[in-house]
Amino acid sequence: MMIQMQDVTKTYEMDGQSLRAVDRVSLKVEEGEFVAIIGPSGSGKSTLMNLIACLDTPTSGVYELDGAEVSKLGDDDLSQVRNSKIGLVFQSYNLLPRMTALENVELPLLYGLHAADGGAAQQALEAVGLGERSHHWPSQLSGGQQQRVAIARALVTSPAIILADEPTGALDTRSGLELMAIFQKLNREGRTVMLVTHEQAIAEHARRIISIRDGRIVSDETVASPRQAEAEMAKLPAEEVLP
């Protein structure tokens, strides 16, 4: 079992009122799954995502990640869990602007006991098709390319799970599909992938869709035939050739 959540609740105190952003959520994700969490803004999906990513700890409930309980861990241990077990991809790429693509990908290796070195970072960039852009600055890359660098950064530590928060939110259709194709490829290779989105069309690339509303899971369905990003790309009008 990759993820096992039991009655996980996250409560925020705001102006004297307490707000349950995540309300007694129980959830199981097996290794090798591709799960999309979908919900409108304010549904609590980002909070749930932060809990799964070990960026935050639940107010109550139990969370086991890759066989170890993490809900009671201290800050240092949580940092190590993030570093070794989780590969995060954000909506706004979150690359450091004054580092090259390669240096950005190497960054997680700084913070853990990784045997991996610069070679691993280069390999990760090649896996997302950016092997030749390793010395480019983020500002020299398109949005889609920057997000692929971010995926390479998430992959470099060989994490147990890839977590993506609205990864296509800032991308055009084609770049978004390219990205989904990468996630689908990674999943086919056996990686556990979870993504948070508010777009049904994006969610339908996953093999399982969990809907969230008001901090609770309202549905949890297997997708009979997920959309195939590569096939969709082929149907798009021919891309303008960029110089």
């Binding site: 932060n50 990513a53 960026l55 935050d56 800050d75 240092d76 940092s79 190590q80 993030r82 570093n83 070794s84 995060l88 954000f90 979150n94 450091l96 004054r98 580092m99 960054l107 997680p108 700084l110 913070y111 853990g112 950064r153 530590t157």
Partner: protein
């Protein structure tokens, strides 16, 4: 994260905003430069004082002067305190020589100020010293021309005089005065030698405005006195200076029947006391520059702290990303502390160079003696690191305490 990588990350952070980094350094540069300059000027002054005190005072003798009073003050490096006081005698001298161990030689000295001297129509007012031939050795003071006073001059009460350059100029112009006559308080003397120039002593008195005659001629032929102004004691072993000084004090108290609360009617001076006295004069300057340096370092530190706080505000997002990727609080703390330390340390190094340049400039332009010492440089490095830690810790802690989720939401 390894130290090397921590420093690399810190350097990257600093190079990202060079103007701001320089601004952070300015205070440290000024403070450290001031510190280096102070120490250079202070030590230079001390060295000069020690050197000139050594020049005036000669090589390691003790001096006993007649009369009470502050043993380390006096207009003539102690020579003049005995003027008028009649408490030291030739018998005291012989007792010192005979009874105090470690005494190699004790030499008598006499002094009279405001003495009228004449040569033909030229007149001058000067000081007359009664000395023995040992004076030449213990004061390292020889004649430029002619011959020094000899033992024969002393035993025969010879009417011979050594005259200082200032007196010589006043009475003889540019001529070599050796062989000429000189009238000292209307007694006829022959100029036997022209003393080497000594210039002004550290208190600004003209050391060349003096005449020296044999001590016996002074006491028996010229002024008919039976006391001594001072006794210069040369030692066998200069390392036992202090114990010898107290032995002499004990002996003289005994001889002069001084028991508390009666005050000593003599004073025993050591060269280190003299050096200490003059070192005091440069202390005011040192204190002033020290305050300047301290304020500059304090302000510099506060500037660093403020800029770091601003910078951390702007880099909240970066901190959030690093935390999300697995940086622990202490990794963030170390990164920002390393930035502060790099700023203060490189500011300190620039400050050291600026300080050395300022010290050299002071020596060149104002003739101020300066000494650049390793101690000063190490002190500067220690201060730089200290400022970095003291003023860097708080902002770095603030950065480390940021909540990852909120930091990721930040700009």
């Amino acid at each position: 994260m390894s130290i090397k990588r921590t420093l690399q990350e810190a350097l990257r952070g600093l190079l990202a905003n060079k103007a701001r980094t320089f601004l952070m350094m300015v205070g440290v540069i000024i403070g450290i430069a001031a510190l280096i300059t102070i120490v250079a000027v202070g030590q230079g002054a001390k060295a000069k004082v020690a050197q000139s005190a050594g020049k005036m005072w000669g090589t390691n003798p003790l001096m006993v002067t007649a009369g009470a009073g502050n043993p380390n003050a006096g207009p003539h490096m102690g020579m003049g305190v005995g003027v008028g006081a009649q408490t030291l005698t030739m018998e005291d001298l012989q007792a010192i020589e005979k009874e105090v161990p470690n005494v190699r030689k004790a030499s008598p000295g006499l002094l009279k100020s405001d003495v009228q001297v004449k040569h033909q129509e030229q007149a001058a007012t000067t000081e007359v010293f009664g000395i023995t031939p040992e004076f030449r050795e213990y004061r390292s003071w020889d004649v430029d021309s002619g011959v020094f006073i000899t033992d024969a001059d002393v035993s025969s009460l010879a009417r011979v005089a050594l005259i200082g350059q200032t007196v010589a100029r006043q009475l003889y112009g540019d001529e070599d005065p050796v062989g000429f006559r000189i009238m000292i308080d209307n007694v006829k003397f022959e100029v036997k030698g022209l003393l080497a120039a000594k210039g002004t002593n550290p208190q600004g008195a003209d050391a060349d405005n003096r005449i020296m005659i044999p001590v016996t001629t002074f006491s028996r032929r010229l002024y008919n006195v039976d006391y001594l102004s001072n006794i210069v004691v040369q030692l066998k072993d200069v390392n036992r200076m202090n114990e010898t000084a107290s032995a002499i004090t004990t002996l003289l108290r005994d001889r002069h029947q001084i028991v508390p609360p009666k005050q000593d009617d003599f004073a025993v001076r050591t060269p280190s006391g003299i050096v200490k006295m003059f070192a005091g004069t440069s202390q005011a300057l040192t204190i002033f520059l020290g305050i300047v340096s301290g304020i500059a370092l304090l302000v510099g530190g506060l500037v660093i702290m403020n800029i770091m706080l601003i910078s951390i505000g702007e880099r909240t997002r970066e901190i959030g990303i690093r935390r999300a990727l697995g940086a622990r609080r202490k990794d963030i703390l170390r990164q920002f502390l390393a930035e502060a330390l790099l700023v203060t340390l490189s500011g300190g190094l620039i400050g050291i160079l600026v300080g050395i340049a300022a010290a050299l400039l002071l020596s060149a332009a104002k003739g101020m003696p300066t000494v650049i010492s390793w101690q000063a440089i190490s002190l500067a490095v220690v201060f730089s690191v200290g400022v970095g830690i003291i003023f860097g810790v708080q902002p770095a802690q603030r950065a480390a305490r940021l909540n990852p989720v909120e930091a990721l939401r930040g700009k």
